[in-house]
């Protein structure tokens, strides 16, 4: 429990420092977030979801992309926020 608390505190300090330094993160988050929230009021009924439920409209990576994402996580320094792995295994950063 102590270790978790300690870890949380470190994460918080790191994020706070980064945010205060340049506020890049805020800009990157705020614009798309505001966009989604502002226009998210339209109520869509189940029978109106024929396009939303199309297999190409899925809000995730496709299964066929799985190994491509794995290769990217090996060759690039960043990973995550795409449903893929964020660590674990040899070579993954």
């Amino acid at each position: 429990m102590m270790m978790i608390k300690f870890t949380d505190q470190k994460i918080f300090i790191f994020l706070k420092t980064q945010l205060m330094k340049k506020q890049t993160l805020m800009k990157c988050c705020a614009i798309p977030l505001a966009g989604i929230i502002l226009v998210s009021c339209a109520h869509v009924k189940e029978y109106q979801k024929s396009r939303i439920n199309d297999s190409e409209m899925i809000l995730a990576n496709k299964k066929v992309e799985k190994n491509e994402l794995n290769a990217q996580s090996y060759r690039e320094g960043s990973s995550g926020a795409n449903g893929g792995k964020t660590g674990g295994g040899c070579g993954c950063n």
Binding site: T7, S40, A42, E68, R75
Partner: protein, 432 residues
């Protein structure tokens, strides 16, 4: 390699055969249903990379093709579904993947390029979710294991919770832990001589640790080999990764939906790899040394829009920052075009840019007084571009046979400003 190919072909035939026997019964009145195979996915990929720099060689610009890699990956997922007495949907997904790779740099874990340059990775997964459609909630747990012979073992556990909102939104949380064990296989020049051989004038045991990590005990008598003994254990180090993932997805209107994904990642333990060399500016070499903690914060946004009747725009953007000094931006646009309702082509383009970590320097640039150092170009500053095309075929009567409900094929060409070029072709066969 031949065995893996034959196994994969065998799996494909088995799936086609198994589903061809399925009969559909009328289930108009509700009653609890036993676990039943619902879907099988087979994913195969072939990856080919050309590069002239490698972390094993400390980023040295020498031998041409030292960063070349090939990888033949195959995976199978089986999804079982059942309904319990409380009308809850239970989904059990089991999967296994097998990769066979060759890496030119792996041969240079020893000092003269004679080490083994190939390997196999096996990674089974098991996930269980329980969904209450009335309440709009879903709870899940999962386990993961990955092993590459002699190099590492990785175990993972996860738990997740999702809740639908009244306004076509869904919020989800996932907690994941990966617990790795990395074998300390150092380049041959860093193995102390005493650990490699222990020769006596008469009967003796010689421990031979090859550069690829295989350690054998050879028993000699009067200079001649008489038997192979037990295999001593290699030392290892641990690496842990803890991730808290948050996601919110929202239907915006009849044609548009979007999502936000955030991960908070904390890693501790041995975060480098013992066979990555670093050459100092005094000409001497050592192995990379990186801090034992890392915080990562990626945040991603997706926005999908159905334009007209045949075109879909799939947009993705990710911002990433960590405490090693690496920042990155990823932007991707995929445009699936429906040629017919059951056949689509999806061209895509991805742009990626990252800054270097604070501890990166090229070949013979680091000073011996540096505290942390690496010459792994995955942590260097670079830009990358990738583009390609996907194809999806999902006719209602199946592809060739009824049980093969969809085929997806995807090709991607990737270039990095570190002179790395790669191609990957993947195929997903979906059986229902």
């Amino acid at each position: 390699m031949k065995k893996i190919c034959l196994t994969v072909i065998g799996m494909y035939i088995l799936m086609a055969h198994a589903f061809s026997q399925v009969s559909i019964k009328d289930t108009s009145t509700y009653k609890p249903k036993k676990l039943k195979l619902d879907e099988v996915n087979l994913v195969s990929s072939y990856y080919n990379q050309r590069a002239d720099k490698s972390a094993v060689m400390g980023g040295t610009p020498g031998p041409k093709g030292i960063g070349d890699v090939t990888d033949f990956a195959n995976g199978i997922d089986l999804k079982f579904i059942s309904w319990d007495g409380k009308h809850r949907k239970n989904t059990l997904t089991g999967g296994i993947g097998i990769d066979y790779h060759t890496a030119a740099s792996q041969a240079y874990v020893d000092s003269n390029g004679h080490a083994r340059n190939n390997g196999t990775r096996i990674y089974p997964t098991l996930d269980w979710t329980i969904e209450n459609e009335k309440k709009g909630t879903e709870f899940g747990i999962g386990a993961y294991y990955s092993a590459e012979h002699n190099y590492y073992h990785s175990k993972g556990l996860n738990t997740s919770f999702a809740k639908k909102t009244n306004n076509n939104g869904e919020f989800s949380v996932k907690l994941t832990g990966y617990f790795d064990n990395i074998k300390m296989i150092k380049p041959a020049e860093f193995e102390p001589v005493d650990s490699i051989s222990n020769v006596s004038p008469t009967d003796s045991v010689v421990y031979v640790t090859t550069a690829s990590g295989t350690t054998k005990a050879l028993i000699y008598s009067n200079g001649g080999l008489i038997s192979r003994g037990s295999k001593p254990k290699l030392p290892s180090q641990s690496r842990n990764t803890y991730t808290a993932s948050f996601s919110f997805a929202q239907v915006i209107n009849q044609r548009m939906q979007g999502s936000i994904d955030m991960d908070f990642v904390y890693q501790d333990g041995y975060l480098g790899l013992p066979f990555h060399r670093v050459f100092f500016n005094n000409g001497k070499d050592t192995i990379e040394n990186l801090p034992s903690e890392r915080f990562k914060f990626p945040i991603g946004f997706r926005l999908n829009y159905f334009l007209g009747d045949n075109i879909i725009l799939r947009g993705y953007y990710r911002f990433y920052i960590d405490n090693w000094g690496l920042k990155s931006h990823t932007a991707e646009l995929e445009v699936p075009v429906k040629i017919t309702p059951f056949f689509s082509l999806s061209p895509f383009y991805r742009y990626y840019v990252q800054t270097a970590v604070n501890y990166f320097a090229a070949y013979e640039v680091h000073s011996p007084t540096d505290k942390y150092f690496t010459s792994n170009y995955a942590l260097a500053a670079f830009k990358s571009n990738s583009f390609g095309m996907g194809l999806r075929l999902a006719p209602p009567k199946g592809v060739l046979i009824k049980s093969l409900s969809a085929i997806e094929i995807r090709y991607s060409h990737y270039t990095q400003t570190t002179d790395l070029v790669s191609d990957i072709i993947s195929m997903n066969l979906k059986f229902r």
